[in-house]
């Protein structure tokens, strides 16, 4: 080993070019076995997603061969899927955030109050997003600085943010018909070639999250923190800063999803976000992100969100009554996380 020990990074780097093969990573075509090993979890979730879709297609071809059902999915899945993206980062870092449904409401309270007073929708969006960031900073402060475990801290803020929303808005429902003509409305929940805009926001969130997690220093830090926080600290990663930012990102995404949810139904209810907690979490875990941290997949979360989001309508379309929804919902979750556990044991 000694012959390289004196060299500096600068001396080493220019001499790399000889070995071009390793730069590309594991190739499906050159080495399918190794590819299957490295990407086992993601291949598994992709197969599960296709199977579920096939099952729906076979049991209700009239519905699933038509465009309308997909347009409906594209409109509703992003309402929780967008939060599931930064949530994937949070879980990968070994943390959790349960407070985002209430952040969705708190952000919207800011939106409504600013909009009612200024009649300016853009300003209202800014206020909501700012509140989302603030909510994330509060979570980050309690978890990272005070040291309360994230699970406990965000159960607390789940109630606190919801309570604050109810108090600030006085429990009012507010109709948002007046926002309909704004650019914001068309940009957020309008349509583009017949496809609901929410869908593009989800794709944007997914791509951005993938880049951050897999092609940026921040994501590299997230992986290591989730794997072994002490290793991260000993290697000079500013874990407090990285962890705080995680909760800020969830807060921001939650506030944004709150706006989408409210504009989509053109009304604000102080209960907005309730019922989004479990689908978003389920999407992350069904997708294959490890609850123990250190491993996360944005692709998995995206497919997970679609699986979770299609079940409801799929079951009804397949001719079963709504009573079956939760049964199958639960079965899909248990089966997929079991598959991930088995894949972990074999290939991890």
């Amino acid at each position: 080993m000694s012959h390289m020990s004196g060299s500096t990074t600068a001396e080493i780097l220019p001499t790399v070019a000889d070995d071009a093969t390793w730069g590309r990573g594991v190739s499906l075509w050159r080495d399918p076995r190794r590819f299957a090993g490295v990407y086992a979890g993601q291949l598994g979730i992709t197969a599960a997603f296709l199977l579920l879709w096939l099952a729906f297609l076979v049991s209700a071809p009239d519905t699933f061969l038509r465009w309308e059902i997909y347009a409906a999915y594209a409109a509703t899945i992003p309402l929780f899927g967008i939060v599931a993206m930064p949530l994937t980062l949070v879980v990968t870092a070994g943390e959790i955030d349960l407070s985002f449904p209430s952040t969705m409401a708190l952000g919207m309270v800011g939106f409504v109050l600013v909009w009612e007073n200024t009649d300016n929708v853009t300003l209202a969006v800014g206020a909501a997003l700012l509140i989302g960031v603030a909510a994330g900073l509060i979570n980050g402060f309690v978890i990272v600085q005070i040291g309360v475990p994230a699970l406990v801290a965000t159960i607390g803020t789940l109630f606190f943010f919801r309570g604050l929303s109810l108090v600030l808005i006085g429990g009012r429902n507010v109709t948002l018909t007046g926002t309909r003509d704004s650019i914001v409305f068309r940009l957020f929940v309008g349509e583009f070639f017949g496809i609901p805009m929410q869908f593009f926001w989800l794709l944007l969130a997914a791509v951005a999250t993938w880049i951050v997690l897999n092609r940026h220093r921040y994501g590299a830090a997230v992986y290591v923190i989730g794997d072994n926080r002490e290793t991260a600290e000993l290697q000079g990663i500013r874990t407090k800063r990285v962890r705080t930012l995680l909760f800020v990102l969830v807060g921001l995404a939650a506030a944004f999803a709150g706006i989408l949810s409210s504009l989509f139904i053109v009304s604000f209810f102080p209960s907005v976000g309730e019922g989004q907690l479990l689908p978003a979490l389920a999407a992350v875990f069904v997708g294959g992100t490890s609850v123990f941290g250190g491993k996360g997949t944005v692709w998995g979360t995206l497919l997970g969100a679609f699986m979770i989001g299609t079940i409801n309508a799929g079951i009804v379309a397949a001719g079963l009554t709504g009573f079956y929804t939760q049964l199958i919902y639960g079965a899909v979750i248990v089966v997929s996380v079991s598959i991930h556990a088995i894949v972990q044991r074999r290939f991890g």
Binding site: M1, S2, H3, S5, G23, N228, T231, E233, L234, Q235
Partner: protein, 278 residues
């Protein structure tokens, strides 16, 4: 390489601790530690569990701040030492258990916190994988085709992990390597490899602190041995001047009385080869 620190100011130690003390919740973890490390010296830091070895090391690598006393690099006191600043001074710590992130790939482990970026601020994954592949062949001694830069490090042996961590430290220009109990859990063959490697740190003109609870793990490779006991320095000597029976006797005396009656024969100003006395 291997210039034994010639050309640098010989009198100034690379690293020096002056009167460093630290309390944790009322417990005196370190008291009045004076410690020097020459430019091209391997020092064994020996002591029982709880003697303060790890606490001392964590001060050097910027993880803890001393309550009193100071840490000097090249004779200059550094008061706000952080992990990052210590790293700039060339300090790199190799913890056997905590050096690597087990679930991550080899290439991610090599570049933790020091990733290569493209012009646009994104990770240059391609370059990092290639560099890792090259280091695997040249420095880590991996020849098996089953191991690739995409391999997850969890599956590697203790010695292999240690090799990865040490390779990483040298790759990023470490000048002062701190090895925390490097021999624990290694097979005899792997320990030999490790000792050869530690020797090569010296040949490369760098310095190292090797921590161990057992003096017989370090006496072959250390130029000097410093013994810690209950947060205090209990003895310093040159192990090569003594035989195994004498060393055992010294260690027993320290364990019983907390200090050694053997005179300090290792002038800490020593900066180079073993056997040299001042």
């Amino acid at each position: 390489m291997g210039d034994n620190g010639a050309g640098m100011t010989p009198g100034t130690p690379r690293l020096e601790l002056r009167g460093v003390s630290k309390q944790f919740a009322g417990v005196q973890a370190l008291s009045d530690i004076n410690f020097r490390l020459g430019r091209n010296e391997i020092v064994g830091l020996v002591g029982d569990n709880g003697a303060g070895k790890s606490t001392l090391i964590k001060h050097i690598c910027g993880y803890h701040r001393p309550d009193s006393g100071e840490i000097l690099f090249d004779g200059v006191p550094v008061h706000d030492l952080t992990v990052e600043r210590a790293r700039e001074f060339g300090v790199a710590t190799v913890y056997q258990e905590r050096a690597l992130a087990d679930l991550q790939t080899l290439w991610r482990n090599i570049f933790i916190g020091q990733e290569i970026e493209t012009r646009f601020g994104f990770l240059d994954v391609r370059k990092m994988r290639r560099e890792t592949h090259r280091l695997m062949l040249e420095s880590m001694g991996f020849t098996s085709a089953a191991v690739t830069p995409e391999s997850v490090v969890k599956t590697f042996s203790g010695g292999e992990k240690q090799g990865i961590a040490i390779t990483r430290a040298l790759y990023f220009d470490a000048e002062i390597l701190i090895l925390d109990e490097p021999a624990v859990g290694l097979s005899i063959k792997e320990t030999d490899k490790l000792l050869r490697f530690i020797q090569s740190i010296k040949e490369a003109g760098k310095a190292a602190i090797v921590i161990d609870h057992n003096i017989f793990h370090v006496y072959e490779i250390a130029d000097r041995v410093v013994v810690l006991d209950r947060g205090k320095i209990a003895g310093r000597f040159r192990p090569r001047d003594r035989n195994v029976i004498e060393l055992t006797e010294i260690m027993r005396e320290i364990a019983e009385t907390g200090h050694s009656s053997v005179p300090d024969d290792s002038h800490s100003e020593t900066t180079s080869a073993p056997g040299e006395t001042t």
